[in-house]
């Protein structure tokens, strides 16, 4: 987390937030995962492209190696995901500031994790929706607004058999 904060302070990345399984674990029980998914807002290049290359170069210069789709940072494989749609941008903008030990970091809100799972739509995303719905303090009013903004309410209702008001 310290490395992420340094990269942000240096302008290599913009806002970042932990998403995926590790963010879900912040709100629910611990489950087996080997992934640390970090969503990042990337500064645009002069050509207007969004690219992870400057981030990978900055990590490489610190001695962190790429391995598959991840970069190994102090023994943890971290997958960086650029903000790829409006829902992710919104989740990044409203992520919760939390402390991990003495290090500040940002974790996506559980309502955004639910909406992203519904949007992504894999089998494991259904499991995540079930787990977060049962174990976390979901703000259903906030969730309904997110689902409506991103046209996800129909799938939510199909998955959960629980229409939101």
């Amino acid at each position: 987390m310290r490395v992420l904060n340094e990269l942000q302070a240096e302008g290599v990345i913009g806002a970042y937030a932990i998403g995926g399984a590790m963010a879900a674990i912040f709100y629910a029980e611990a489950v087996l995962t080997y992934d640390l998914d970090v969503f990042v807002a990337l500064p645009q290049t002069s050509g207007g492209l969004l690219t992870l290359a400057p981030l990978y170069a900055a990590l490489s210069s610190r001695g962190y190696e790429e391995r598959g789709e991840c970069v190994i940072i102090q023994g943890t494989p971290v997958q960086f995901l650029p903000s790829y749609n409006a829902l992710i941008e919104e989740a990044l903008a409203s992520a919760n500031e939390v402390m991990l030990g003495s290090t500040p970091t940002r974790v996506m809100r559980c309502e955004h994790l639910l909406a992203i799972a519904v949007q992504t739509g894999r089998a494991k995303d259904r499991d995540r929706v079930r787990m977060l719905s049962q174990q976390s303090a979901v703000n259903y009013e906030f969730l309904a607004a997110v689902l409506d903004r991103h046209d996800l309410r129909k799938r939510w209702t199909e998955w959960t058999q629980s229409p939101l008001r």
Binding site: Y27, Y34, I72, Q134
Partner: protein, 70 residues
């Protein structure tokens, strides 16, 4: 009819206790949950590697057992 209605009461109590335990686990501090995740990773890694999956348990300063001792 609720599907739970067909389950014997003593088994239902076990399920309910299990669910209550999961809620307790969900309420643990994040740092503690991360230590549990790493413990799970270490347990599962040999099995997953035997299946040909390339997995890498995270490096933490302490295991759940070590944390419990401190």
């Amino acid at each position: 009819m609720d599907r739970m209605d067909s389950i014997p009461p003593e088994v239902r109590r076990l399920f309910e206790a299990s669910e209550a335990r999961r809620q307790e686990l969900a309420a643990l501090p994040w740092e503690q949950k991360i230590r549990i995740v790493v413990g799970l990773q270490r347990m599962a890694a040999p099995i997953l590697r035997a299946r040909g999956l390339d997995v890498m348990p995270w490096e933490l300063d302490e295991t759940p057992e070590e944390a419990a001792r401190t």
